[in-house]
């Protein structure tokens, strides 16, 4: 079972036969057998050469890079081997047809809001926010255009984030969602979590024949692989947010884990490590899948979501977004 590797140290990445070597300062070498690697996530400053990239490409392993502040900056994706021209044509067809596009976009919001509600229900004093989510979800079903839908999504998300102030203890308050740059610890956590989930989803999409640039809720060409943003909507509240609640409410993070100034706030390396450790644990948590009748991890659920989209595009089975049932 291969897994994502997160590299924080600075140094050199190289290939020696079928093994990846991470060489950090002081000549400490760590080896990672290639079979064990699903994707690489680079947070430190590393050197690598084309021989290394060719090796990753041959092994079909994507490598994702994050900048100094922990924001996603880009990926080296292996040459696409999993191509289905037939499916791509269908994907485009579902984008061009406004009604078909709207159905898929609403489905992503449906999944997202479902999981937001599910999170809030665990905490007392969030009832009024749950009400807003309910209202916006029923509004969303009646929308006819993407901007209208985005309006519902925006209002739902505002209410959801306001509820964070009720949920989060230990003097972590939230006030307002700010992205560029994040201005307080909670914004920093959300931004970092979103960066991670984005590349996790992208890695999963790459294992299927879906074209990651054709999206429905987000506009294609929003300078990213926007299908990854679409699918991440469903999984952010399922995977990232509970991790934030856990880290904050159990006192697992402290002031030292953030680098703060007047108008910005970022997670330090140590803070990121704590965050990723929890996210990774979450991704590997398994549940018994009702239809498959086998155990699947949260990470696999993302892949299954891709499969469901494929079936939708090929007119096999109508897409219904994933909703955690447990």
């Amino acid at each position: 079972m291969s897994k994502p590797y997160y590299i924080f140290s600075s140094g050199r990445l190289s290939r020696k036969e079928n093994t990846i070597y991470v060489e950090v300062e002081d000549n400490i070498k760590k080896s990672i057998p290639i079979e064990d690697v699903e994707s690489l996530h680079i947070f430190g400053e590393v050197d690598l050469n084309t021989k290394f990239l060719n090796f990753l490409s041959q092994q079909n392993i994507p490598i994702h890079f994050y900048n100094y502040y922990g924001f996603y900056s880009g990926s080296f994706m292996p040459r696409e081997k999993n191509i289905s021209g037939n499916l791509t044509v269908k994907q485009v067809e579902f984008y061009i047809d406004q009604i078909k596009r709207q159905y898929i976009a609403i489905s992503f919001i449906e999944g997202a809001i479902f999981h937001m509600q599910r999170n809030l229900r665990e905490y007392e004093g969030t009832e009024k926010f749950v009400e807003v989510l309910k209202t916006e979800l029923s509004n969303a079903y009646n929308t006819k255009s993407i901007p209208e839908l985005m309006g519902c999504e925006g209002r739902a998300r505002d209410a959801y984030y306001q509820a964070f102030n009720v949920i989060l203890k230990n003097n972590f308050s939230f006030v307002k969602r700010e992205k560029r740059p994040p201005t307080n610890p909670i914004n920093a956590l959300i931004s970092f979590g979103n960066s991670i989930i984005y590349s996790i989803v992208l890695t999963q999409i790459y294992l299927t024949q879906l074209n990651p640039t054709i999206s429905y809720l987000h506009e294609p060409g929003e300078k990213r692989y926007s299908l990854s943003l679409d699918i991440a909507e469903i999984f952010k509240p399922l995977i990232v947010d509970p991790v934030i609640f856990k880290l904050v409410n159990n006192n697992m993070l402290n002031e030292d884990d953030f680098e703060e100034d007047l108008n910005f706030c970022y997670l330090t390396e140590n803070g990121r490590k704590k965050f990723i450790k929890e996210i990774d644990q979450k991704l590997n948590t398994t549940i018994k899948h009702r239809k498959l009748k086998r155990n699947v991890s949260y990470k696999q659920l993302i892949r299954l979501e891709c499969y469901k989209l494929i079936k939708h595009f090929l007119s096999d089975e109508v897409y219904v977004p994933f909703k955690a049932w447990w």
Partner: protein, 170 residues
């Protein structure tokens, strides 16, 4: 005549004949470029078995007309290596198709399916009656591939071991 025409145009691989007998839905997906084989451990095991069995044989993985890939080829036989005989009928149909294809090109051979793990082999001879079966298969494949959407998923005893299981049942 019509059949010959179909035969020329279809350009069907042996795997497709095999899939017709295993699962029509899988055949449809595979044809549309939705392959699940590259993430399946079972498929990897099969490929490894093929590579490491019968190391003395020289003619391996022979590709004919950029279409038909034969595991092992010698003067008299066409051989196919399979992991287990659980889907015997499909294996048989696949090798019959190879024999049929070769015969169309004026080459007459005997088919053999090797099950090295089970220390078993099966010999297959193309008869006129069996030729009809192959032709029927080709027509059926064409029918499946012409469908606008994949055939509905049907639960079969071997579904859970298939590389397409999570696609079909998620």
């Amino acid at each position: 005549m019509e059949k010959d025409d179909a035969f020329d145009k279809l350009r069907i691989t042996g795997l497709k004949v095999n899939y017709l007998h295993v699962c029509k839905r899988k055949l449809w997906f595979f044809d549309r470029g939705i392959g699940m084989e590259n993430t399946s451990d079972k498929v990897l095991l099969g490929a490894l078995l093929q590579d490491y069995s019968y190391p003395k044989e020289k003619k391996r993985d022979v590709l004919i007309d950029d279409l038909i890939q034969i595991d092992l080829l010698d003067a008299d036989t066409v051989r196919e290596i399979k992991y287990s005989d659980k889907l015997k009928e499909a294996d048989r149909a696949q090798i019959l198709y190879y024999l049929y294809y070769l015969k169309k090109n004026g080459v007459h051979k005997i088919g053999v399916i090797n099950y090295p793990k089970m220390k078993k082999r099966e010999e297959i001879i193309l008869t006129e009656e069996l030729e009809k079966e192959v032709e029927n298969d080709l027509i059926k494949i064409k029918e499946v591939l012409n469908l606008d959407r994949p055939p509905k998923a049907e639960k079969k005893p071997y579904c859970s071991k298939c590389a397409y299981y999570e696609l079909c049942w998620s």
